[in-house]
């Protein structure tokens, strides 16, 4: 065993080859017999008792991006389903987001190694459809009961590739009420004022992950731009609006000085939970954790309107989705689709809100008091409504990477020559897209 084979961090690539003929590389490979579509708004947690639930042993391997502790919810869900259907076994396997992406892409080369179901993020639709490893779900699952924005995230040219489980993933403003007060800042001028008031002596007014371009993206709509041109695939990063957005963030750090010198995700989050930061821009996935740690002191609001433009920031929304590998068919497919509908039924979605504190994708569940009565979830729901579905095409990855360099240059190195930064970002994105 050599040391060079020691672990890589969970991002690495394992390529694979289609052992079958080249046809495996096409999109939408598998034609399976369409089973009777299952209703999605059945409102019991009990098994939908449509006719002819398949007999025989069915084994389902479910890959989920959920780790500890959320994976316990997934496991409980699986257990509840198999309690109703004794002939079905579900093996829940955790795979981190990047790992899951790579592993599923690799199944293009070895279809027998594919799982029966994956629970993952929307932007995987791009690579998965390119590699041809997932199947269309139109007509196989009734999509009427799901929130439109959530569905839109996994629809490409009118074809639906996934079923939403939760809706969100949006960045929003968390604030510590004991420092900031009851009301969040309404616009960015107020944001700066509040932050300045609360900075000093090792405390900071505002923190966020300064190293990932994901934290730049909400502000783009606030300055009136977006990353792609109208065709949705050509990068459009070298614009005055982008420069304005970068300048805004630069000012927060270097002019108003309300942010720490270096802050990655962990540091920003730790500062907020330990009370050393008044406000943080972070995602809805932390809602449960922050609520546990800050209790009643936690406030949640959408990102404040940009004063100079009057536009609202629009964070990217996504969420978690079920996707079905293309190799699955027949009875197994029937059971898989049934599981999908069952687990996203209203009652189960309400339970998910209880356990995971995430916004459901099921429309009825969204209107349930458990969501509407919870001030935190209500804040999150407001934030999600101002969001925009995250582009899921493969080029988006190029764009994120190009913007990463830009944001690190501006916030990390303190480069204030925004014009050259955006020019570099555009060049990098174009170079990347060209070699895809």
């Amino acid at each position: 065993m050599s040391h060079k084979l020691q672990r890589l961090l969970p991002i690495f690539v394992v390529g694979a080859l289609v052992l079958a003929a080249c046809g495996g590389g096409e999109i939408g490979g598998d034609e399976s017999e369409a089973p009777e579509s299952q209703g999605t708004d059945s409102s019991e947690a009990a098994a939908p008792s449509e006719a002819a639930f398949p007999e025989g042993d069915i084994e389902i391997e479910l890959w989920t991006k959920e780790g500890d502790p959320q994976i316990e919810y997934v496991e409980a869900l699986a257990d509840a389903y198999t309690a109703e259907h004794a002939n079905v076994t579900i093996n829940v396997v955790n795979k981190d987001v990047e790992v899951l992406r790579e592993d599923l892409v690799n199944t293009a080369l070895a279809p027998e190694s594919a799982p029966e179901l994956v629970w993952t993020v929307a932007d995987h639709v791009g690579p998965f459809t390119s590699a041809g490893v997932i199947q269309e779900l139109d007509g196989k699952v009734d999509t009427a009961g799901y929130e439109e924005g959530a569905l839109a995230a996994v629809q490409v040219d009118g074809t639906t590739w996934g079923i939403p489980i939760s809706n969100g993933n949006q960045l929003m403003l968390y604030y510590n009420k004991s420092i900031v007060g009851e009301e969040p800042p309404a616009d960015t001028d107020e944001l700066i004022a509040t932050a300045t008031e609360n900075t000093g002596d090792g405390s900071f007014g505002l923190v966020f992950n300064e190293t990932e371009s994901f934290w730049l993206t909400p502000w783009l709509a606030g300055f009136g731009t977006s990353v792609f041109e109208d065709d949705g695939t050509t990068p459009n990063l070298d614009t005055p609006e982008m420069q304005a957005a970068l300048e805004f963030l630069y000012d927060l750090k270097y002019t108003e000085e309300v942010m720490p010198g270096e802050a990655d995700y962990t540091i920003a989050s730790d500062l907020f939970t330990s009370g050393d930061a008044a406000m943080i821009v972070n995602g809805d996935w932390e809602l449960g954790n922050y609520a546990d740690q800050l209790g009643d002191d936690l406030g949640v609001a959408p990102l404040p309107t940009v004063t100079s433009t009057g536009l609202d920031p629009a964070p990217y929304t996504a969420g978690s989705f079920y996707m079905v590998p293309s190799a699955i068919e027949g009875d197994t497919l029937t059971v898989v689709l049934d599981f999908i509908s069952w687990s996203t039924s209203t009652e189960n979605q309400i339970q998910m809100v209880e356990e995971l504190r995430r916004l459901p994708a099921n429309l009825e569940a969204l209107e349930d008091p458990i969501v509407t009565d919870d001030p935190l979830l209500a804040g999150a729901a407001e934030a999600v409504q101002r969001g925009t579905p995250q582009p899921t095409n493969v080029e988006m990855r190029c764009v994120f990477d190009a913007m990463n360099t830009g944001i690190r240059d501006v916030l990390g190195a303190g480069n204030s020559d925004f014009a050259s930064v955006t020019a570099d970002m555009q060049a990098a994105a174009e170079n990347c897209v060209a070699t895809l």
Binding site: R7, A20, S130, A131, E262, D264, G412, A428, L436
Partner: protein, 347 residues
Amino acid sequence: MDVDRSVAALSEVLFTLAIFAVGIAILEGVLYVILVRWLKARLALPILLIAPALVGLTALIIYPLVWELNVSFTNMSLNRLCDPGFPAGLLAECRGEPMFIGLDNYINVFTRPVLQVAGFFQVFWQTILWTVINVAFHVGLGLGLALLLNRHLRLKGVYRALIVLPWAIPQIVSLAVWRTELNAEFGMVNQLLSLIGISGPSWMTDPFWNFFAMIMVNVWLGVPFMMVLLLGGLQSIPADLYEAAEIDGASSRQSFRHITLPLLRPVLVPSVILGTVWTFNNFNVPFVINQLELETSDTLVTGLFRAAFQYNRYGFAGAYAFVVFAVLLVFVIVYVRRSGALRGAYE
């Protein structure tokens, strides 16, 4: 812990080992018959000794290498995920395009930016710098510590056990902790520096200090390993050679030059070679410590990863990897020849 699963796991491991043993026995038996009984080969014994390892390595390494070489002449990528087949995709088409693209990938490695902006030669130079400095420190400090520990000393075992800890702790956590501790404001490194009145640099954003930090962390990680290797080598030098030299009036520097170094050579040389190769190919440390993906801190291996693997450009990655491999191979062949590491005990 589940008894059933443990028993199952244990029996599977034992079963595999047993199959392994049987396979070896058969291989050796066949070779024995052929080489000793039939051909009466003079060199039967070394071949018998080496055969099992050779067979295993061929399967595990030669086949994958050949596969990679094959792919490197094709345009296989995420959008063209088809089997090129042998040879080199000459006969295959994917999405309507032929897969064989000849030396294009290899040319692209040298002519197009390997990272977002930086080209091959810049990253290559950075890698050389990274490797040389690291190995110098690994060997220097490792040897120094080994020499200190190779004496009668109280608490020797304690020191040794403590110094080995960086190697024992899984890198996944030690590197994550290091990365956080290198934070300019909140990290322990700068906090300690400020205790002695130095204002610590910005390890993550400054290109020079980030490179320095990478080396620092890798030295921390690598010295224990080198120390253990060299200590073992020192242990096998007979003590009375030193005593005889002392009686003859040699200074410790002289006995180091004339006794220690020559006798340590057979162990030192492979250690240096392997240390160089592993440092060159080290992915974890540069990748984690270079959190902001500064192009000045990237090495060939991290560059390979970023440029190729994040986008599933399998063909390009294959070519890039072979270029890296070729560079190392040249170095190894040259160094190995010159250092005489290929000589055996009789020479």
